[in-house]
Amino acid sequence: MRNIGPILTVVAAIFVLWYAGAVALNAPWAYDKAKRANVEITFSEMVADTMQQKKPKLPAPHQVGKEIWKTTGEMVAKGRAFSKRSLIYHSWITLSATLLGFALGTGLGVALSVGIVYNRTMDMSVMPWVIASQTIPILAIAPMIIVVLNAIGISGLLPKAVISMYLSFFPVVVGMVKGLRSPDHMMVDQMKTWSATKGQEFWKLRLPSSMPFLFPSLKVAMAASLVGAIVGELPTGAVAGLGARLLAGSYYGQTIQIWSALITAAALAAALVAIIGVIQKVVLKRMGMA
């Protein structure tokens, strides 16, 4: 709990800057309106106006907060948590793609890292492709993945999950190659003196040794996965998901809606990463590696 002080300070600073930004960015529109109505407004009237515009350039925190509450808590209270207007519903759509993509990406990443560590040919050939895959802008490749998968009759959750996987396998490969190679020569030789099979060496030595490397990779992968799922919702004009909310918001200039989707996405990412952090703590502590 020692961290709480500094964290609150930073959060407070962010709010101050955010409000200041909202005033500065929304002021021209406030003056504009006043001019057209042929009235003079005072500074405090202007500030008050910047806090409650319908389509502000930068919505104020409380506007976003209110919108989020309206589309989450209030919907729950009305028993419509999963209606199309509820952020919970949209979050769930994105979250499910994120989690599936994360699982696929982690699986692919671990599989590739095992191949790279145990197979010389893969060691020499796979890594450059893995790195190349990440240099292609995801925004360029996402529509193609979706179109191609649609063409073979796959739509909905899976195409988005595939994009998440595409982004999230990378940190897992990099971390796990390092992790699986982390046991020193002596420990590998020791296994040899017991005539251990490759499989035993993997399960009893390499995999446990890689745990301190796996979890940081998983955190990055989870965040990347969420980005992937949101990006996957953009090019199709999806009607559901946080990405769809962003898109719809920007079509109609609903900045408050955009920002509440953004904040929700950020909170979701933070929560997911925090969950991995907790698992990491528990696992490494139990393994005597923390």
């Binding site: 002596m186 005539s195 035993q200 009893k204």
Partner: protein
Amino acid sequence: MSSVISAKNLSLTFQTNDGPVHALKDINLEINKGDFVSFIGPSGCGKTTFLRCMADLEQPAAGEITVNGVSPAEARKARAYGYVFQHAGLYPWRTIGGNIRLPLEIMGVDKAEQDKSVKEVLELVHLEGFENKYPWQLSGGMQQRASIARALAFQADILLMDEPFGALDEIVRDHLNEQLLELWARTNKTIGFVTHSIPEAVYLSTKIVVMSPRPGRIHDVIESTLPKERPLDIRDSPEFIEIAHRVRDGLRAGHGDD
């Protein structure tokens, strides 16, 4: 007396960026059943490399080496030896018991048998009651004892130890030396033991192999005349001091011109 390890004209050269390193050259040695053989010599004279050849962790370039009458590879697969590395190398995520169990799990020993062996070897190294502790809860000396217990757990007749007590302080070392002798007397194993310390080599061994570097050779093989029963104060006896002298002379002569 049956020969357990036999090396004939053994040579091994490492190719390094600075050119070839002759780690072993024309090594000839017979180790008999029940021998306690120490390898002593300056750093880089090939002690570790020789031990690793016996363990099939290094492949000699020339010459021949047999372990229990077969090649080191076959002996390794037959689990003929236990190997204790310089560092304890215990797995932090396994308890002491779990660490000792590890080779047994790998060898497919059944659970009841595992429990029995773990209990036995913990007694041998005087670590009763530490089965469920984690390595970090033990001192360095105790960790090293646990790693010896692990090498003993699967009942191999040969025990190869590479400077197992090198990192420990003198008092702990004396204590472990005593325990090792006691263990050797009780189990009648054949032991190959690498050390830097002259008193340690003389105190423990029935046979002391003095090695010299560049290229790694055997300079002298000293058969100990000390009795099998060795209290710690035997180190003050004239016999002990004489053997120690011979070892020291061998080391000096082997070191030669540099």
